[in-house]
């Protein structure tokens, strides 16, 4: 294709997106669009799957049968999210094996929040309330993103995430209204998860690399700082309601902005975790790599069995 042809295709492509048309897997798309989407969508899929680990920690120790069932169901949902996000990513011409390779080799990222440890039962509440809460803020705008398979996956994912968010908040509420020990447990979890949750919404706008292009492709509709503000404004009253204190001495309602002012985020910590040196980066990666490597003989067996079965069928047909 000549450069001129490509330019005209790109122009048509941009116009389609501007008209709010969806781009489908078989449509022509610029290579950069494809790559950016593979990166962002697989990163999202990886986050769902790695995110199963910190919560999975508490399945065997959940305090009641009702909570155990709800936690299992939640983690199963996250696995489902991983599954349809991987499938959606595969429509861009990349295989699941390649995507796993990128995760296991450290080339692909996943949400840094999952590199923090889950130390008490209250962390199950804090994760649902704050982490799923922040994820929703990130993801709701993606329900209208330009790439069809991603947008459709997001609609389904977001419905379940808001259920998780309510469930997590309900865990926190129960603790906050419980015994002093339970309330302390809830407050401690909020103290540990609050700042990492704010970081989940991404670096400040001046440090964010992909924003402008992403806006055009509707991979992003608001800036990180806008999303963060939205998250804070939404979450502070929820903490107030159950009598928990946001661990930020600078947090203050700003009448003029009709928003909360908040304290400085420790971005050094953020970059430390992103670069692989958070409290659980190594454990999380090791768990994923182990599962994959120890599962190899199982996947090989399944493949060999399917081939044998196919052969037998063909022989029967002859």
């Amino acid at each position: 294709m000549s450069e001129e042809q490509i330019r005209s295709l790109e122009k048509q492509f941009d116009e389609r997106i501007a008209r709010d048309e969806k781009i489908e897997p078989k449509d022509w798309m610029p290579e950069k669009y494809r790559h950016t989407h593979i990166r962002q969508m697989s990163q999202h899929a990886h986050s769902e799957v790695v995110g199963m680990l910190p919560e999975g920690n508490w399945i065997t120790r959940a305090p009641s049968l009702r909570r155990k069932v709800a936690l299992l169901a939640k983690i199963q949902d996250e696995a489902g999210h991983g599954l349809y996000l991987y499938s959606a990513t595969e429509t861009l011409g990349v295989t699941r094996e390649e995507l796993y390779d990128q995760l296991h080799s450290g080339k692909a990222k996943y949400s840094s929040i999952f590199n923090y440890p889950t130390l008490t039962w209250a962390d199950m509440g804090a994760i649902g309330w704050l982490v799923d809460g922040a994820a929703i803020i990130n993801q709701v705008p993606l329900c209208n993103t330009s790439y069809g398979p991603y947008a459709r996956a997001m609609i389904r994912v977001c419905k379940e995430e808001s259920f998780h968010q309510r469930q997590g908040y309900e865990i926190m509420m129960k603790l906050a209204n419980g015994t002093p020990e339970q309330k302390d447990m809830a407050q401690d979890a909020l103290n540990r998860w609050w700042w990492p949750s704010l970081m989940m919404l991404g670096p400040t706008d001046d440090k964010s690399v992909h924003t402008e292009q992403s806006m055009k492709w509707k991979l992003k509709r608001k800036t990180n700082d806008e999303l963060r503000q939205q998250f804070i404004d939404q979450t502070v009253p929820q903490a107030d309601l159950i009598g928990l204190t946001i661990p930020d001495p600078d947090l203050k309602w700003n009448e003029e902005r009709q928003s909360y002012d908040f304290g400085a985020i420790n971005w050094d910590e953020f970059w430390q975790v992103v670069k692989g040196h958070g409290p659980c980066n190594k454990e999380r990666m090791k768990a994923r790599v182990n599962a994959w490597e120890e599962g190899e003989w199982v996947r090989d067996a399944a493949m060999a069995y399917a081939e044998k079965k196919q052969e037998r069928k063909q022989k029967q047909a002859v």
Binding site: T60, R61, P63, R66, K68, G178, N290, E296, V298, D300
Partner: protein
């Protein structure tokens, strides 16, 4: 307790689901593929759902303040009545599948009979569970076939798991005094009558899966009387951790 036999009978059924559910829950996030992870979590989820129905009923029969969670999480090790088979660890995926398969075939046959119980609550629970468990049985049978008839390595691993777990199968068909009392009343299932069909069905599937049916006639039992393998204590320390550390609280 007025209905002690019925209470113990329900615990005997439910503890199998409780302990197996706990074992399957351990796998979540660590399985060989996302699809098997989802399936194993789903089995765990079903089993705990069943446990809740049984223990809610048992709590009602007990008629005191105890709750489903007290029954599930606050008994002593010797008071758990599950068979030894379900407490065996997730040594590798073949063991998890083998354990599931050897239990599912029994479980499905058992629930099918329990649907006829003269106790309407039990028959209703069985009726609900039978659908779930027939899915479990299909899942675990399919995987026994895949692993048995897959590669040389998977065949070896599956065979080893079956050989090791085989010793725990006979216990499924032993009766406790509560079992016998409940069978007499038309409430319980006579498990001795399930045995022949069980071994026939299991053997046929193993053969289809290119696996040998173990010939050993040495069996282990004791779980139904609360004499467990060493594995159970560790499982219970996880299961009971919160209830023991923070007694008398609501979650």
């Amino acid at each position: 307790m007025k209905n002690e036999n019925l209470y113990n009978y329900i615990l005997g059924i439910a503890d199998n689901s409780l302990i197996l559910g706990q074992r399957m829950g351990e796998l979540c996030g660590h399985g060989p593929s996302l699809e098997t992870d989802i399936a194993c979590t789903n089995i765990s989820l079903d089993l705990f759902g069943q446990v809740r129905s049984y223990f809610q009923y048992a709590a009602k029969i007990a008629g005191d303040k105890r709750t489903e969670d007290d029954i599930a999480m606050l008994r002593k090790e010797r008071e758990y009545k599950n068979v030894l088979l379900v407490e065996q660890p997730n040594t590798n995926f073949a063991y998890s599948i083998g354990r599931q398969f050897l239990f599912d075939v029994y479980h499905l046959a058992f629930l099918t009979e329990l649907q006829k119980s003269s106790d309407l609550t039990l028959s209703a629970i069985a009726n609900k569970c039978v659908k779930e468990v027939s899915y479990h049985e299909r899942f675990s049978s399919d995987w026994v076939k895949r692993l048995g008839d897959g590669t040389e390595e998977s065949n070896q691993k599956m065979q080893e798991a079956i050989n090791d777990l085989w010793t725990y199968t006979d216990e499924l068909f032993h009766q406790t005094p509560a079992d016998i009392a409940m069978v007499t009343e038309g409430v319980g299932v006579d498990v001795t009558k399930l045995k022949e069909k069980y071994y026939k069905q299991v053997s046929e599937l193993l053969q289809e899966a290119n696996l040998e049916v173990p010939e050993s006639k040495w069996f282990q039992k004791g779980g139904k009387e609360g004499i467990h393998t060493e594995h159970l204590g560790y499982l219970l320390s996880d299961l009971q951790y919160m209830q023991r550390t923070y007694p008398n609280m609501e979650w």
